[in-house]
């Protein structure tokens, strides 16, 4: 196993790196002055690529690695992997579903709560000493509001369950209605937005869902509605969202993801009706380790010719 060449595309989590290093022949792409320099020396040695939401395995990389057999993503999202190319070449692909579902759902609710109840603003208010000169402003309650979820998969369902404990009314949009749910279904995202006070993006990123939050949806959500994104930055037409926020055409936004991380439009920094997080949806000690263990488990299974644990292809 220690001759099995594994290429890690970027720093992810020290524990994961350690464990890969212990078992396999680990190449760290960022240790090399350039990708072409790495490929020049080692392209023939790489049999597995470990990627994540920042740097995955695109067509160019896959083509440059003639002995590549498996891509294991340190994420559940597969938008950074050229799945078609992998299918063509017979390359296996694994991800890390389920272990991070709840953390991401928790982060979605955390964004809703801190946004509506203005907790980040309130904390800044206290820290700046402003409480000595006057009272804080009135905020909005979360309990009892209508929540519209785009994508009722594992994460969307977990979000719905938590929102229900706050007595919220749940509706959703997905490609087709889900059979075993009592939540109200909307075949149109615009209709869902129009009928929700809180709109949550929790579907996977595909060509169809790119910019699923566009000007029309934003307008339907309106000045009394808020948008929560724990999916991918590309789900949202970001310049449209930013101008809607600056012009007050939308009530607010809670965002864990952005189109060009780590870049965040600086105009948002002045706004009190946004909460911004540096893509931490699954960033807990427990889940980071669980994801790493699952990833390693998949690679080990592959090496030992056992069934993969969480294969996508």
């Amino acid at each position: 196993m220690d001759q099995f060449g594994v290429l890690m595309t970027c720093p992810m989590f020290p524990y994961l790196e350690q464990e890969l290093d212990r078992r396999f022949k680990l190449f760290r792409l960022w240790d090399f002055p350039s990708k072409s320099e790495f490929l020049g020396h080692h392209s023939g040695s790489v049999r597995a690529v470990v990627g994540d939401t920042k740097v995955g395995a695109d067509s160019e990389l896959i083509e440059a690695l003639p002995r590549l057999e498996i891509v294991s993503s340190y994420s559940v999202g597969l938008d950074r992997i050229d799945l078609e190319k992998c299918k063509e070449r017979g390359i296996r692909v694994t991800n890390t579903p389920d272990v991070l579902t709840e953390d991401v759902a928790d982060a979605a609710i955390a964004l809703i709560l801190t946004l509506l109840r203005k907790v980040c603003v309130a904390d800044a208010f206290v820290r700046s000493g402003k409480w000595m000169s006057g009272d804080f402003e009135v905020a909005s309650k979360f309990s009892g509001k209508s929540v519209g979820i785009i994508g009722l998969g594992r994460i969307g369902s977990a979000i719905a369950k938590r929102a229900e404990a706050f007595n919220c009314l749940i509706s959703y949009h997905s490609r087709s209605p889900k059979p075993h749910t009592t939540y109200r279904y909307y075949s149109s995202v615009v209709d869902l937005a129009r009928n929700s006070q809180i709109l949550v993006v929790s579907c996977s990123l595909t060509e169809e869902t790119r910019h699923i939050i566009n000007r029309e949806v934003i307008d339907a959500l309106g000045p009394k509605g808020v948008l929560i994104n724990i999916g991918r930055g590309a789900h949202v037409d970001e310049p449209e969202l930013v101008s809607a926020l600056l012009e007050g055409r939308i009530g607010g936004a809670g965002l864990d993801v952005f189109e060009k991380e780590p870049e965040v439009a600086e105009e948002l920094f002045e706004l009190e009706n946004v909460v911004l997080l540096p893509h931490v949806g699954s960033d807990t000690e427990e889940t980071s380790k669980a994801m790493a263990d699952l990833l390693i488990g998949n690679l080990e299974a592959y090496f030992l010719k056992k069934p993969l644990l969480t294969a996508v292809i």
């Binding site: 970027c10 720093p11 992810m12 989590f13 920042k54 709840e102 953390d103 928790d106 982060a107 609710i109 955390a110 964004l111 709560l113 801190t114 109840r117 203005k118 907790v119 980040c120 309130a122 904390d123 800044a124 208010f125 206290v126 820290r127 409480w131 000595m132 009272d135 804080f136 402003e137 009135v138 905020a139 909005s140 309650k141 979360f142 309990s143 009892g144 369950k161 938590r162 229900e164 404990a165 706050f166 007595n167 991380e261 780590p262 965040v264 920094f269 909460v275 911004l276 997080l277 540096p278 931490v280 960033d283 807990t284 000690e285 427990e286 889940t287 980071s288």
Partner: protein, 329 residues
């Protein structure tokens, strides 16, 4: 100076003494129902309260107060026709209940109006500390998100043991919400609740020893003053988190600050403090502390409900119908 027509209308409407401006109305820009009641606005007068009351409120049968304006025995004695005291708070510490009981004066409050709102802030503070939400938002706004992996990891909620101190209305709303995240709930209260399945710890230190976080949801009494002391907090430990949406003095604040600064306590989410609005300076620089300015009840929705409750209680009283939220004295 009121015009003659205004005075004659005022005479026809029932008189209600208002000690201070009613925040629930002013904060959401809702006018007082001056078309239905003659509000005697004591705070608008330049004369002291007792002079105002003697001159204007001798026929007032009702008085409305918020927490900051006490209804003392002295004040009650100056109101011979008084039969109803209405407070816009859940708490009753500012009303002389003995005197009300003695005189057969009915009292109504706002218990239950804010339970969900306050419970939400408790849950929000706890998640914020565990998942570093406010810290993450600050991080981005300070321009510090430049690369990969520099922001510290948070903690998963499922499986965390949360000890609720005071399982009243608010405590139950907190429990119900945290349940959905997979937290394991137990509690300490004056008495065990026989119809509640959550494990009961009669001893607060035992609760702390079996919890990853304590959420303070009880009221402030002589017994609960500084109930969360150094011993309880040391038992909660280096990874323990404390959330307070009750009253500041329930926690020995000086001890808590020292433990947080030394790293003997894992984190804190605080909506209340011993000396509001004065917050200990040492907390201002800590990323594992989230502080809010006593705003657990500060929502548009709760204030709307509260305004409706005030008007509803006054209407009920003046038409001899049962009060909406009468307190048993």
């Amino acid at each position: 100076m009121a015009s003659p027509s205004q005075i004659s209308i005022g005479d026809a409407l029932p008189q209600v003494l208002l000690l201070r401006n009613l925040l629930p109305f002013s904060l959401i820009n809702k006018p007082l129902p001056d078309d239905r009641f003659h509000f005697l606005r004591a705070w608008e007068s330049s004369v002291p309260l007792d002079e105002f009351v003697l001159a204007n409120a001798q026929s007032a049968r009702a008085v409305v107060t918020s927490g900051g304006a006490p209804v003392t025995a002295d004040l009650l004695r100056m109101l011979p026709d008084l039969q109803f005291v209405l407070t816009t708070t859940a708490g009753l510490n500012h009303i002389d209940l003995d005197e009300c009981r003695r005189r057969g004066i009915a009292v109504a409050n706002a218990a239950g109006v804010f339970s969900e709102d306050v419970a939400e802030v408790a849950v929000c503070l706890l998640i914020d500390v565990w998942r570093r939400i406010s810290a993450g938002d600050r991080y981005i706004r300070a321009g510090r998100w430049v690369g990969i992996g520099a922001f510290p990891l948070g903690f998963k909620l499922r499986g965390k043991r949360v000890g609720i101190v005071g399982l009243g209305r608010i405590g139950m709303e907190v429990a119900k919400r945290l349940d959905a995240f997979g937290c394991i709930i137990s509690y300490n209260s004056r008495n065990q609740k026989t119809d509640i399945a959550y494990p009961f710890f009669p001893n607060l230190r035992d609760l702390a020893s079996n919890s990853d976080a304590l959420v303070i949801c009880c009221g402030l009494t002589d017994e609960t003053h500084h109930m969360i002391d150094k011993e309880v907090m040391m038992t909660l430990g280096k990874e323990g988190v404390i959330v307070n949406i009750g009253r500041g003095p329930i926690i020995d604040e000086k001890e808590m600050v020292e433990l947080l600064v030394k790293g003997e306590l894992g984190g804190a989410g605080l909506d209340v403090f011993e000396n509001e609005p004065d917050v200990p300076k040492e907390l201002m620089g800590l990323d594992n502390v989230v502080m809010t300015p006593h705003c657990g009840a500060l929502t548009r929705e709760s204030f709307l409900t509260l305004c409706e409750l005030v008007v509803g209680n006054l209407e009920a009283f003046f038409s001899n119908r049962p009060l909406l939220s009468q307190v048993q004295l």
